[in-house]
């Protein structure tokens, strides 16, 4: 899923400072699963904003609304009748959602309430960690199912570097060395000999480096 973190309250307050009437817009997909931008979080943020405004002696009219997804036209349409009555939309979706809502409503500012952090997993309750950088050219079959792009701090294709120590990355002792994980996994698969296979210089054109990407499925287009 796409994992996010809510922006600091002061930053959100500064963003919405010029407005008296806003929609706080949640998303029921990834950001609900990682407890940052779903219906519940819309309620919490809205209450905090009302309270904060009250303390400052200013009013704010907030419409709390959550969409099934903010990355699909059909759901974004659900707020069309409300939009003219408000001055800004504070979206709690990922960066894709924020932008797609903005594209649908060019006449109103759409502001981000969260920082989109990574594509990751719920490792434990309350702990999300990164697994994929969407490089567009998966090599997990070569590296024991562990991604060197996302999990090595240097994205080394032929790691580990000389900074790997006790299974930890040189960047920080809290960070696990991705290549240590790859080697352990290859070992448990009985494939440690694959370690010596040279992985050639990567084609990054399928990654962000090729410019904004798109996927076209002719079989699905109408």
């Amino acid at each position: 899923m796409i994992v996010g973190e809510r922006k600091p309250m002061e930053e959100i307050e500064a963003m919405i400072d010029p407005f008296e009437k806003i929609i706080v817009l949640g998303c029921r997909e990834c950001v609900t699963v990682c407890s940052v931008g779903g219906e519940k979080e819309v309620g919490i943020l809205s209450s905090e904003l009302r309270l904060s405004r009250k303390q400052k002696g200013r009013d704010i009219d907030i419409l709390e609304f959550s969409l099934e997804r903010q990355c699909d036209h059909e759901y974004i349409e659900q707020i069309r009748s409300n939009v003219p009555n408000y001055e800004a939309i504070l979206s709690m979706a990922c960066g894709a959602g924020v932008q797609f809502v903005a594209e649908a409503y060019p006449e109103i500012p759409v502001l981000p309430a969260i920082n989109t952090t990574f594509i990751g997993v719920t490792e434990e309750q309350g702990l999300w960690t990164e697994r994929c950088q969407a490089c567009g050219n998966c090599i997990l079959h070569l590296t024991g199912g562990i991604c060197p792009v996302a999990r090595c701090s240097k994205s080394l294709m032929n790691g580990p570097c000389g900074g790997s120590s006790d299974g930890k990355c040189e960047v920080n002792k809290e960070v696990v060395c991705g290549w240590q994980l790859i080697i352990e996994r290859l070992k448990s698969l009985g494939q440690l000999d694959r370690y010596e296979e040279y992985i050639p210089i990567k084609d990054w054109s399928t990654s962000r480096d090729g410019g904004p990407r798109k996927v076209v499925r002719e079989d699905l287009r109408i």
């Binding site: 701090s153 240097k154 080394l156 000389g162 120590s165 240590q180 080697i183 010596e196």
Partner: protein, 307 residues
């Protein structure tokens, strides 16, 4: 010969090679490089010039190498893949070869969080092994990474680093094998303080015959103080400093500890010389270049062979 490198000539002749290191200044003062070059002239075969080591911005390795080259030294251009993509790297290689630089050391580089610009974006378009492979392709096939022909082929003697003390230990020999496969000519290792572990790694290297395919230059760094030894032990990732080294330094009065550090370094070199498969020594005296001649003379490695 693959290049016009003095280091290559020394090694090809079967002589025990001596290289050292010159850290460029945090400014544009060429005099700093010239002073260090003057100290190292004639006492070493080649001089590495670090590339923004520990991710701290310094004078460029290529420009510093050029200054040293002008003084008649044989510089080794250190090149990290942290800051440059394949376009910049290949361009710098062509430029280095054009001004007479004959050696390159291919590294991934310390992560930028260690340095003075931790908010920087890193590049890592390629890793150190892919860099070795790319330089070899440029030199031996006369082709760029994408296969286009190079007019005016860069003839570089290709080096890489090895850290026998990093984890996991079991892949440290296979990792060298991978670098050998990629086309490395010489290796300079991480600083050696734990000789037992180094010997164990070298045994693995010899068992696979890798010492016959690549020249291994054993790395040493003299300790200036107990504080430095502790810092290296605890703060530098992948560094193995046994307690005996720290105890030995502690065992002498404070004002004699730097001298003791030099002694340990000389003794280490003498032991390294006896290990089968070690072709030379790489002395990294960090901001202490003035001690390098003393170490080399103390280890009986002076004068250097004429090649």
């Amino acid at each position: 010969m693959k290049s016009a490198s003095r280091l290559e000539k020394v090694l090809e002749k079967g002589e025990f090679a001596v290289t050292s290191e010159c850290g460029p200044p945090r400014g544009a003062d060429a005099e700093v490089i010239r002073k260090k070059g003057e100290i190292l002239r004639d006492v070493v075969d080649s001089v590495n010039v670090t590339d923004n080591q520990t991710s701290v911005v310094r004078m460029s390795s290529a420009a510093s190498c050029f200054i040293l080259k002008g003084m008649g030294l044989d510089p080794v251009l250190q090149m990290v893949t942290r800051d440059r993509n394949r376009i910049a790297i290949q361009s710098d290689i062509l430029g280095a070869a054009a001004v007479g630089i004959n050696n390159i050391l291919c590294l991934s580089g310390d992560h930028q969080v260690f340095g003075d610009h931790p908010k920087a974006k890193n590049v890592y378009d390629m890793d150190s092994i892919q860099l070795v492979h790319s330089v070899k392709k440029m030199r031996d096939e006369g082709k760029f990474i994408e296969g286009e022909e190079i007019k005016g082929v860069p003839k570089l003697f290709i080096g890489a680093a090895c850290n026998p003390f990093a984890d996991p230990f079991e892949i440290r020999v296979p990792r060298l094998a991978k670098k050998v496969w990629a086309g490395v000519d010489f290796i300079q290792t991480q600083c050696i303080y734990n000789l037992d572990k180094f010997e164990e790694w070298m045994k693995g290297v010899r068992d696979r015959g890798l010492h016959e395919k690549v020249y291994i230059l054993a790395g040493v760094t003299p300790m200036k103080s107990v504080g430095m030894a502790k810092y290296m032990k605890n703060m530098v990732p992948g560094m193995d400093v046994p307690d005996e080294v720290i105890e030995r330094l502690k065992g002498v009065p404070k004002e004699q500890r730097a001298e003791e550090g030099i002694k340990i370094c000389i003794e280490t070199i003498q032991k390294l010389k006896e290990i089968e498969g070690v072709s030379g020594v790489h002395i990294m005296a960090i901001e202490w270049e003035e001690k390098v001649p003393e170490i080399i003379k103390g280890a009986g490695l002076y004068p250097r062979p004429q090649v």
